[in-house]
Protein backbone atom coordinates (compact mmCIF):
# COMPACT_ATOMS: atom_id res chain seq x y z
CA UNK A 1 0.00 0.00 0.00
CA UNK A 2 1.23 3.45 -0.69
CA UNK A 3 2.40 5.63 2.14
CA UNK A 4 1.12 8.89 0.71
CA UNK A 5 -1.50 9.27 -1.95
CA UNK A 6 -2.03 12.57 -3.71
CA UNK A 7 -5.20 12.30 -5.77
CA UNK A 8 -6.07 15.05 -8.26
CA UNK A 9 -4.92 17.80 -5.94
CA UNK A 10 -5.12 21.26 -7.46
CA UNK A 11 -4.98 24.79 -6.17
CA UNK A 12 -6.51 28.06 -7.26
CA UNK A 13 -5.61 31.10 -5.18
CA UNK A 14 -8.57 33.47 -4.87
CA UNK A 15 -8.37 36.78 -6.68
CA UNK A 16 -6.65 39.64 -4.93
CA UNK A 17 -8.06 43.15 -5.28
CA UNK A 18 -9.01 43.76 -8.95
CA UNK A 19 -7.08 40.70 -10.11
CA UNK A 20 -7.79 37.29 -11.56
CA UNK A 21 -7.74 34.15 -9.42
CA UNK A 22 -4.38 32.37 -9.82
CA UNK A 23 -4.25 28.73 -10.75
CA UNK A 24 -1.05 27.59 -9.05
CA UNK A 25 -1.42 23.85 -9.48
CA UNK A 26 -3.28 21.73 -12.02
CA UNK A 27 -4.93 18.61 -10.60
CA UNK A 28 -1.97 16.44 -9.73
CA UNK A 29 -1.68 12.83 -8.65
CA UNK A 30 1.25 11.17 -7.00
CA UNK A 31 1.69 7.83 -5.33
CA UNK A 32 4.48 7.67 -2.78
CA UNK A 33 5.64 4.28 -1.50
CA UNK A 34 7.03 3.61 1.94
CA UNK A 35 10.69 4.64 2.24
CA UNK A 36 10.59 6.44 -1.09
CA UNK A 37 12.82 9.44 -1.55
CA UNK A 38 11.06 11.54 -4.14
CA UNK A 39 12.70 14.61 -5.59
CA UNK A 40 10.25 17.09 -7.09
CA UNK A 41 11.85 19.15 -9.80
CA UNK A 42 10.36 22.07 -11.69
CA UNK A 43 10.87 25.63 -12.87
CA UNK A 44 10.27 28.53 -10.53
CA UNK A 45 6.62 29.33 -9.91
CA UNK A 46 5.29 25.97 -11.10
CA UNK A 47 3.61 25.19 -7.80
CA UNK A 48 6.15 22.95 -6.05
CA UNK A 49 5.86 24.79 -2.77
CA UNK A 50 2.10 24.94 -3.13
CA UNK A 51 1.90 21.16 -3.55
CA UNK A 52 4.19 20.54 -0.59
CA UNK A 53 2.33 23.03 1.60
CA UNK A 54 -0.96 21.33 0.77
CA UNK A 55 0.50 17.96 1.75
CA UNK A 56 1.85 19.57 4.90
CA UNK A 57 -1.62 20.92 5.67
CA UNK A 58 -0.46 24.54 5.57
CA UNK A 59 -2.65 25.27 2.53
CA UNK A 60 -6.01 23.80 1.62
CA UNK A 61 -6.45 22.14 -1.74
CA UNK A 62 -9.07 23.59 -4.08
CA UNK A 63 -9.80 20.07 -5.31
CA UNK A 64 -8.68 16.51 -4.78
CA UNK A 65 -7.56 14.80 -1.62
CA UNK A 66 -4.52 13.56 0.20
CA UNK A 67 -4.26 10.32 2.15
CA UNK A 68 -1.44 9.47 4.53
CA UNK A 69 -1.44 5.79 5.54
CA UNK A 70 -4.99 5.63 4.24
CA UNK A 71 -6.21 8.51 6.41
CA UNK A 72 -7.27 11.79 4.80
CA UNK A 73 -5.06 14.73 5.66
CA UNK A 74 -6.60 17.93 6.96
CA UNK A 75 -4.49 20.63 8.55
CA UNK A 76 -0.89 20.46 9.67
CA UNK A 77 0.29 17.82 12.11
CA UNK A 78 3.29 16.20 13.69
CA UNK A 79 3.01 13.18 11.38
CA UNK A 80 4.36 15.29 8.50
CA UNK A 81 7.69 16.93 9.23
CA UNK A 82 8.34 20.10 7.24
CA UNK A 83 11.59 21.88 6.46
CA UNK A 84 11.23 25.31 4.91
CA UNK A 85 13.40 27.11 2.42
CA UNK A 86 13.61 30.10 4.77
CA UNK A 87 15.30 29.76 8.14
CA UNK A 88 12.55 28.96 10.61
CA UNK A 89 14.33 28.06 13.82
CA UNK A 90 12.80 29.76 16.84
CA UNK A 91 15.34 32.49 17.70
CA UNK A 92 14.58 32.33 21.44
CA UNK A 93 15.36 28.62 21.74
CA UNK A 94 18.76 26.95 21.69
CA UNK A 95 19.57 24.30 19.12
CA UNK A 96 18.63 21.53 21.56
CA UNK A 97 15.39 23.26 22.57
CA UNK A 98 14.50 23.86 18.93
CA UNK A 99 14.99 20.18 18.13
CA UNK A 100 12.89 19.26 21.18
CA UNK A 101 10.04 21.65 20.31
CA UNK A 102 7.70 19.01 18.90
CA UNK A 103 8.56 16.50 21.62
CA UNK A 104 7.48 18.97 24.25
CA UNK A 105 4.21 19.40 22.37
CA UNK A 106 3.77 15.63 22.62
CA UNK A 107 4.32 15.78 26.38
CA UNK A 108 7.65 13.93 26.43
CA UNK A 109 9.42 14.53 29.77
CA UNK A 110 12.20 17.11 29.79
CA UNK A 111 15.07 14.67 30.43
CA UNK A 112 13.99 12.36 27.68
CA UNK A 113 13.36 15.06 25.11
CA UNK A 114 16.76 16.63 25.69
CA UNK A 115 18.35 13.20 25.29
CA UNK A 116 16.56 12.73 21.99
CA UNK A 117 17.47 16.26 20.90
CA UNK A 118 21.13 15.64 21.68
CA UNK A 119 21.01 12.41 19.72
CA UNK A 120 19.67 14.23 16.68
CA UNK A 121 22.09 17.12 17.06
CA UNK A 122 24.81 14.49 16.99
CA UNK A 123 23.46 12.87 13.83
CA UNK A 124 23.45 16.17 11.95
CA UNK A 125 26.93 17.00 13.24
CA UNK A 126 25.96 19.73 15.69
CA UNK A 127 26.69 18.08 19.02
CA UNK A 128 28.99 20.89 20.11
CA UNK A 129 26.37 23.53 19.27
CA UNK A 130 23.38 22.31 21.29
CA UNK A 131 23.43 25.34 23.57
CA UNK A 132 23.87 27.91 20.81
CA UNK A 133 21.12 30.23 19.66
CA UNK A 134 20.15 30.21 15.97
CA UNK A 135 21.72 33.60 15.33
CA UNK A 136 25.07 32.09 16.30
CA UNK A 137 24.81 29.47 13.54
CA UNK A 138 25.62 29.57 9.83
CA UNK A 139 22.83 29.03 7.32
CA UNK A 140 23.86 25.42 6.75
CA UNK A 141 23.87 24.71 10.46
CA UNK A 142 20.42 26.27 10.81
CA UNK A 143 19.02 24.03 8.10
CA UNK A 144 20.64 20.98 9.67
CA UNK A 145 18.97 21.91 12.94
CA UNK A 146 15.66 22.36 11.13
CA UNK A 147 15.99 18.87 9.63
CA UNK A 148 16.86 17.43 13.04
CA UNK A 149 13.88 19.28 14.54
CA UNK A 150 11.52 17.73 12.00
CA UNK A 151 13.00 14.25 12.38
CA UNK A 152 13.07 14.29 16.19
CA UNK A 153 9.26 14.23 16.00
CA UNK A 154 9.52 10.88 14.20
CA UNK A 155 7.12 11.91 11.40
CA UNK A 156 5.66 9.42 8.94
CA UNK A 157 6.90 11.53 6.09
CA UNK A 158 9.46 14.30 5.75
CA UNK A 159 8.64 17.24 3.46
CA UNK A 160 11.56 19.44 2.41
CA UNK A 161 11.00 22.62 0.39
CA UNK A 162 14.30 23.61 -1.21
CA UNK A 163 16.04 23.32 2.17
CA UNK A 164 19.47 23.99 0.70
CA UNK A 165 18.41 26.66 -1.78
CA UNK A 166 20.15 29.50 0.02
CA UNK A 167 23.45 27.69 0.59
CA UNK A 168 26.67 27.84 -1.37
CA UNK A 169 27.66 24.87 -3.56
CA UNK A 170 30.16 23.25 -1.20
CA UNK A 171 27.86 23.43 1.82
CA UNK A 172 24.98 22.26 -0.29
CA UNK A 173 26.93 19.17 -1.44
CA UNK A 174 27.80 18.31 2.17
CA UNK A 175 24.17 18.72 3.22
CA UNK A 176 22.99 16.45 0.40
CA UNK A 177 25.37 13.74 1.60
CA UNK A 178 24.24 14.20 5.19
CA UNK A 179 20.56 14.01 4.27
CA UNK A 180 21.12 10.96 2.09
CA UNK A 181 23.09 9.30 4.91
CA UNK A 182 20.21 9.90 7.33
CA UNK A 183 17.72 8.50 4.85
CA UNK A 184 19.86 5.40 4.21
CA UNK A 185 20.06 4.74 7.95
CA UNK A 186 16.57 5.75 9.11
CA UNK A 187 14.61 4.74 6.03
CA UNK A 188 12.19 7.64 6.17
CA UNK A 189 9.74 8.55 3.44
CA UNK A 190 10.86 11.83 1.96
CA UNK A 191 9.48 14.42 -0.47
CA UNK A 192 12.20 16.81 -1.50
CA UNK A 193 11.50 19.90 -3.61
CA UNK A 194 14.36 21.42 -5.54
CA UNK A 195 15.11 23.17 -8.78
CA UNK A 196 18.63 21.79 -8.94
CA UNK A 197 18.76 18.83 -11.31
CA UNK A 198 21.96 17.34 -9.93
CA UNK A 199 20.65 17.57 -6.41
CA UNK A 200 17.42 15.83 -7.42
CA UNK A 201 19.25 12.89 -9.01
CA UNK A 202 21.81 12.59 -6.24
CA UNK A 203 19.35 12.34 -3.35
CA UNK A 204 16.23 10.96 -5.04
CA UNK A 205 15.17 7.42 -5.70
CA UNK A 206 12.54 8.92 -7.99
CA UNK A 207 12.53 12.28 -9.69
CA UNK A 208 9.17 13.87 -10.46
CA UNK A 209 9.34 16.66 -13.03
CA UNK A 210 6.68 19.33 -12.97
CA UNK A 211 5.60 21.43 -15.91
CA UNK A 212 5.68 25.18 -16.07
CA UNK A 213 2.95 27.16 -14.35
CA UNK A 214 0.30 26.13 -13.67
CA UNK A 215 2.15 22.99 -12.69
CA UNK A 216 1.27 19.38 -13.22
CA UNK A 217 3.42 16.29 -13.20
CA UNK A 218 5.11 15.87 -16.52
CA UNK A 219 7.54 13.02 -15.96
CA UNK A 220 8.26 10.50 -13.24
CA UNK A 221 11.68 8.95 -13.55
CA UNK A 222 13.19 6.24 -11.34
CA UNK A 223 16.79 6.77 -10.31
CA UNK A 224 18.39 3.34 -10.15
CA UNK A 225 21.73 4.41 -8.77
CA UNK A 226 22.96 2.13 -5.98
CA UNK A 227 23.09 3.04 -2.29
CA UNK A 228 25.10 4.21 -0.46
CA UNK A 229 25.87 6.89 -3.00
CA UNK A 230 29.29 8.46 -2.69
CA UNK A 231 29.69 12.03 -3.85
CA UNK A 232 31.81 10.80 -6.78
CA UNK A 233 28.72 9.21 -8.31
CA UNK A 234 27.90 12.61 -9.80
CA UNK A 235 30.51 11.96 -12.52
CA UNK A 236 29.44 8.39 -13.35
CA UNK A 237 28.04 7.76 -16.86
CA UNK A 238 24.63 6.70 -15.51
CA UNK A 239 24.34 9.89 -13.53
CA UNK A 240 25.38 12.03 -16.47
CA UNK A 241 22.92 10.29 -18.78
CA UNK A 242 20.06 10.87 -16.34
CA UNK A 243 21.07 14.45 -15.95
CA UNK A 244 21.03 15.06 -19.70
CA UNK A 245 17.57 13.57 -19.94
CA UNK A 246 16.26 15.76 -17.16
CA UNK A 247 17.94 18.85 -18.52
CA UNK A 248 15.97 18.34 -21.73
CA UNK A 249 12.69 17.88 -19.85
CA UNK A 250 13.24 21.00 -17.77
CA UNK A 251 14.53 23.05 -20.68
CA UNK A 252 11.39 22.60 -22.68
CA UNK A 253 9.37 23.61 -19.63
CA UNK A 254 11.38 26.72 -18.95
CA UNK A 255 11.05 27.64 -22.61
CA UNK A 256 7.32 27.12 -22.37
CA UNK A 257 7.04 29.29 -19.29
CA UNK A 258 9.13 32.04 -20.85
CA UNK A 259 6.48 32.52 -23.52
Amino acid sequence: MSKLLVANVGKIFPAQANGQPTRALMPTSLDVGDNDFIAILGPSGCGKSTLLRIIGGLETASEGKIMLDGVPVSGPGADRGFVFQSYTLFPWLTVAENIAFGLREKGVAERERLDIARGWADRVGLSSFVDHFPKQLSGGMQQRTAIARALANDPKILLLDEPFGALDNQTRALMQEMLLGIWERERKTVLFVTHDIEEAIFVGSRVVVMSARPGRIKADIAVDLPHPRPYTIKTSPEFVALKERLVEEIRSEVMASAH
Binding site: G56, G57, L58, G75, P76, G77, A78, R80, G81, F82, F84, S86, T88, F90, P91, W92, L93, F101, G102, R104, E105, K106, F133, P134, K135, A146, R149, A150, N153
Partner: protein, 257 residues
Amino acid sequence: MKPLQPVSAPARIGYGIAFFALFVALWSVATFGGYVQKLFLADPLTMVREGYSLLVQYGFAFDIGMTIWRVVGGFVLAVIVALPLGIMMGAYKRIEAFLEPFVSFARYLPASAFIPLLILWAGIGEAQKLLVIFIGSVFQLILMIAVSVGSIRRDLVDAAYTLGATDTSVVRRVLLPNAAPEIAEIFRLVLGWAWTYVIVAELIGSSSGIGHMITDSQALLNTGQIIFGIIVIGLIGLVSDFMFKAVNQRLFPWAQR
Protein backbone atom coordinates in the same frame (compact mmCIF):
# COMPACT_ATOMS: atom_id res chain seq x y z
CA MET B 1 33.32 59.40 10.65
CA LYS B 2 32.03 56.24 8.98
CA PRO B 3 28.27 55.68 9.18
CA LEU B 4 27.21 53.01 11.71
CA GLN B 5 30.78 52.40 12.86
CA PRO B 6 30.58 51.09 16.44
CA VAL B 7 32.08 52.92 19.44
CA SER B 8 33.87 51.07 22.24
CA ALA B 9 32.08 50.89 25.61
CA PRO B 10 34.47 53.20 27.54
CA ALA B 11 34.43 55.78 24.74
CA ARG B 12 30.68 55.60 24.72
CA ILE B 13 30.46 56.42 28.45
CA GLY B 14 33.03 59.18 27.97
CA TYR B 15 31.01 60.83 25.21
CA GLY B 16 27.83 60.55 27.26
CA ILE B 17 29.41 62.26 30.25
CA ALA B 18 31.05 64.87 28.04
CA PHE B 19 27.71 66.18 26.91
CA PHE B 20 26.45 66.45 30.48
CA ALA B 21 29.61 68.42 31.30
CA LEU B 22 29.04 70.67 28.30
CA PHE B 23 25.45 71.24 29.38
CA VAL B 24 26.48 72.23 32.93
CA ALA B 25 29.25 74.45 31.51
CA LEU B 26 26.80 76.36 29.30
CA TRP B 27 24.41 76.70 32.20
CA SER B 28 27.24 78.04 34.40
CA VAL B 29 28.30 80.56 31.80
CA ALA B 30 24.72 81.78 31.40
CA THR B 31 24.10 82.15 35.14
CA PHE B 32 27.50 83.05 36.68
CA GLY B 33 28.29 85.27 33.71
CA GLY B 34 25.19 87.28 34.53
CA TYR B 35 23.53 86.72 31.15
CA VAL B 36 20.38 85.41 32.87
CA GLN B 37 18.82 86.92 35.95
CA LYS B 38 18.99 84.82 39.11
CA LEU B 39 15.25 85.23 39.52
CA PHE B 40 14.57 83.29 36.34
CA LEU B 41 17.31 80.68 36.45
CA ALA B 42 19.38 79.62 39.44
CA ASP B 43 23.04 78.79 38.91
CA PRO B 44 24.25 75.19 39.36
CA LEU B 45 25.78 75.84 42.80
CA THR B 46 22.58 77.39 44.15
CA MET B 47 20.68 74.48 42.73
CA VAL B 48 22.90 71.98 44.55
CA ARG B 49 22.66 73.98 47.79
CA GLU B 50 18.88 74.22 47.54
CA GLY B 51 18.66 70.55 46.74
CA TYR B 52 20.76 69.69 49.76
CA SER B 53 18.56 71.72 52.07
CA LEU B 54 15.46 70.22 50.48
CA LEU B 55 16.73 66.77 51.25
CA VAL B 56 18.00 67.31 54.79
CA GLN B 57 15.60 69.98 56.07
CA TYR B 58 12.36 69.51 54.20
CA GLY B 59 12.22 65.74 53.84
CA PHE B 60 12.28 65.81 50.06
CA ALA B 61 13.29 62.14 50.05
CA PHE B 62 9.76 61.34 51.17
CA ASP B 63 8.33 63.28 48.21
CA ILE B 64 10.59 61.41 45.85
CA GLY B 65 9.44 58.13 47.37
CA MET B 66 5.78 59.13 47.02
CA THR B 67 6.20 60.02 43.38
CA ILE B 68 8.05 56.80 42.55
CA TRP B 69 5.37 54.77 44.30
CA ARG B 70 2.61 56.52 42.36
CA VAL B 71 4.31 56.00 39.02
CA VAL B 72 5.15 52.38 39.71
CA GLY B 73 1.74 51.66 41.25
CA GLY B 74 -0.26 53.18 38.40
CA PHE B 75 2.02 51.61 35.84
CA VAL B 76 1.78 48.13 37.37
CA LEU B 77 -2.02 48.41 37.39
CA ALA B 78 -1.94 49.39 33.73
CA VAL B 79 0.33 46.45 32.91
CA ILE B 80 -1.95 44.02 34.73
CA VAL B 81 -4.85 45.14 32.55
CA ALA B 82 -2.96 45.75 29.31
CA LEU B 83 -0.86 42.61 29.11
CA PRO B 84 -3.67 40.05 28.76
CA LEU B 85 -5.75 42.37 26.57
CA GLY B 86 -2.82 43.23 24.31
CA ILE B 87 -1.85 39.59 23.94
CA MET B 88 -5.41 38.56 23.11
CA MET B 89 -5.72 41.37 20.57
CA GLY B 90 -2.40 40.54 18.97
CA ALA B 91 -3.11 36.83 18.76
CA TYR B 92 -6.78 36.80 17.81
CA LYS B 93 -7.90 39.05 14.99
CA ARG B 94 -11.55 38.88 16.00
CA ILE B 95 -10.76 40.33 19.42
CA GLU B 96 -8.59 42.92 17.73
CA ALA B 97 -11.43 43.92 15.42
CA PHE B 98 -13.67 44.28 18.47
CA LEU B 99 -11.35 46.35 20.68
CA GLU B 100 -8.84 48.08 18.45
CA PRO B 101 -10.99 51.00 17.25
CA PHE B 102 -12.04 51.92 20.77
CA VAL B 103 -8.54 51.62 22.22
CA SER B 104 -7.13 53.70 19.38
CA PHE B 105 -9.68 56.37 20.19
CA ALA B 106 -9.05 56.19 23.93
CA ARG B 107 -5.31 56.47 23.39
CA TYR B 108 -5.72 60.06 22.23
CA LEU B 109 -7.68 61.13 25.29
CA PRO B 110 -5.14 63.25 27.18
CA ALA B 111 -4.59 61.86 30.66
CA SER B 112 -4.02 65.32 32.11
CA ALA B 113 -7.44 66.48 30.91
CA PHE B 114 -8.98 63.79 33.07
CA ILE B 115 -7.50 65.23 36.24
CA PRO B 116 -10.44 67.54 37.11
CA LEU B 117 -12.85 64.71 36.48
CA LEU B 118 -10.78 62.26 38.46
CA ILE B 119 -10.58 64.67 41.37
CA LEU B 120 -14.37 64.78 41.29
CA TRP B 121 -14.60 60.98 41.24
CA ALA B 122 -11.72 59.93 43.42
CA GLY B 123 -10.84 63.01 45.45
CA ILE B 124 -7.29 64.28 45.67
CA GLY B 125 -5.92 61.17 47.36
CA GLU B 126 -3.67 58.46 46.02
CA ALA B 127 -6.40 56.79 43.97
CA GLN B 128 -6.64 59.85 41.75
CA LYS B 129 -2.87 59.93 41.12
CA LEU B 130 -2.77 56.24 40.30
CA LEU B 131 -5.72 56.64 37.95
CA VAL B 132 -4.02 59.41 36.00
CA ILE B 133 -0.99 57.18 35.43
CA PHE B 134 -3.26 54.27 34.65
CA ILE B 135 -5.30 56.15 32.05
CA GLY B 136 -2.17 57.63 30.57
CA SER B 137 -0.43 54.30 30.06
CA VAL B 138 -2.99 51.55 29.70
CA PHE B 139 -4.23 52.28 26.18
CA GLN B 140 -0.75 52.89 24.83
CA LEU B 141 0.38 49.62 26.38
CA ILE B 142 -2.52 47.62 24.96
CA LEU B 143 -1.99 48.84 21.41
CA MET B 144 1.78 48.48 21.41
CA ILE B 145 1.67 45.00 22.97
CA ALA B 146 -0.97 43.92 20.45
CA VAL B 147 1.18 45.06 17.55
CA SER B 148 4.27 43.33 18.87
CA VAL B 149 2.44 40.04 19.52
CA GLY B 150 0.84 40.14 16.08
CA SER B 151 4.01 40.92 14.19
CA ILE B 152 5.45 37.46 13.86
CA ARG B 153 6.98 35.85 10.82
CA ARG B 154 4.28 33.70 9.29
CA ASP B 155 6.71 30.86 8.57
CA LEU B 156 7.60 30.53 12.25
CA VAL B 157 3.92 29.92 12.99
CA ASP B 158 3.75 27.45 10.11
CA ALA B 159 6.80 25.66 11.45
CA ALA B 160 5.23 25.36 14.89
CA TYR B 161 2.05 23.85 13.43
CA THR B 162 3.99 21.29 11.41
CA LEU B 163 5.72 20.28 14.64
CA GLY B 164 2.34 19.44 16.14
CA ALA B 165 1.67 22.65 18.05
CA THR B 166 -1.93 23.36 19.07
CA ASP B 167 -3.51 26.81 18.70
CA THR B 168 -2.93 27.68 22.33
CA SER B 169 0.65 26.52 22.27
CA VAL B 170 1.28 28.64 19.18
CA VAL B 171 0.24 31.62 21.30
CA ARG B 172 2.14 30.47 24.40
CA ARG B 173 5.26 29.04 22.86
CA VAL B 174 5.66 31.11 19.70
CA LEU B 175 3.82 34.45 19.73
CA LEU B 176 4.68 35.25 23.35
CA PRO B 177 8.40 34.47 23.41
CA ASN B 178 8.74 36.14 20.03
CA ALA B 179 7.19 39.36 21.36
CA ALA B 180 8.73 39.25 24.85
CA PRO B 181 11.81 41.42 24.22
CA GLU B 182 9.74 44.02 22.44
CA ILE B 183 7.15 44.03 25.22
CA ALA B 184 9.93 44.65 27.74
CA GLU B 185 11.07 47.54 25.57
CA ILE B 186 7.49 48.87 25.46
CA PHE B 187 7.37 48.79 29.27
CA ARG B 188 10.55 50.84 29.42
CA LEU B 189 9.16 53.41 26.99
CA VAL B 190 5.69 53.78 28.51
CA LEU B 191 7.08 53.96 32.04
CA GLY B 192 9.01 56.98 30.83
CA TRP B 193 5.79 58.62 29.64
CA ALA B 194 4.11 57.77 32.95
CA TRP B 195 6.59 60.09 34.67
CA THR B 196 5.29 63.07 32.80
CA TYR B 197 1.70 62.31 33.84
CA VAL B 198 2.52 61.93 37.52
CA ILE B 199 4.12 65.33 37.75
CA VAL B 200 1.08 66.93 36.15
CA ALA B 201 -1.19 65.07 38.56
CA GLU B 202 0.90 66.31 41.48
CA LEU B 203 0.96 69.90 40.28
CA ILE B 204 -2.79 69.97 40.85
CA GLY B 205 -4.22 69.11 44.24
CA SER B 206 -1.50 67.27 46.06
CA SER B 207 0.28 67.55 49.39
CA SER B 208 3.32 65.46 48.60
CA GLY B 209 5.49 64.39 45.72
CA ILE B 210 8.04 66.01 43.43
CA GLY B 211 5.32 67.86 41.51
CA HIS B 212 3.91 69.28 44.72
CA MET B 213 7.37 70.52 45.77
CA ILE B 214 7.74 72.20 42.39
CA THR B 215 4.45 74.13 42.78
CA ASP B 216 5.44 75.17 46.31
CA SER B 217 8.82 76.40 45.09
CA GLN B 218 7.19 78.34 42.30
CA ALA B 219 5.17 80.27 44.88
CA LEU B 220 8.46 81.18 46.55
CA LEU B 221 10.18 81.91 43.22
CA ASN B 222 12.83 79.38 44.20
CA THR B 223 14.12 78.32 40.78
CA GLY B 224 16.98 76.41 42.38
CA GLN B 225 14.53 74.01 44.00
CA ILE B 226 12.44 73.70 40.85
CA ILE B 227 15.46 72.80 38.77
CA PHE B 228 16.66 70.39 41.42
CA GLY B 229 13.26 68.65 41.29
CA ILE B 230 13.37 68.43 37.53
CA ILE B 231 16.88 67.04 37.57
CA VAL B 232 15.92 64.43 40.15
CA ILE B 233 13.16 63.26 37.83
CA GLY B 234 15.64 63.04 34.98
CA LEU B 235 18.08 61.06 37.09
CA ILE B 236 15.42 58.61 38.23
CA GLY B 237 14.43 58.15 34.61
CA LEU B 238 18.03 57.52 33.64
CA VAL B 239 18.50 54.93 36.39
CA SER B 240 15.27 53.10 35.59
CA ASP B 241 16.24 53.05 31.90
CA PHE B 242 19.59 51.50 32.74
CA MET B 243 17.94 48.92 34.96
CA PHE B 244 15.45 47.97 32.27
CA LYS B 245 18.16 47.63 29.67
CA ALA B 246 20.34 45.50 31.93
CA VAL B 247 17.43 43.22 32.85
CA ASN B 248 16.35 42.89 29.21
CA GLN B 249 19.84 41.95 28.15
CA ARG B 250 19.96 39.24 30.77
CA LEU B 251 16.47 37.92 30.07
CA PHE B 252 16.70 37.92 26.29
CA PRO B 253 20.27 37.18 25.25
CA TRP B 254 19.03 35.79 21.93
CA ALA B 255 17.50 39.12 20.93
CA GLN B 256 20.64 41.21 21.34
CA ARG B 257 22.15 42.49 18.15
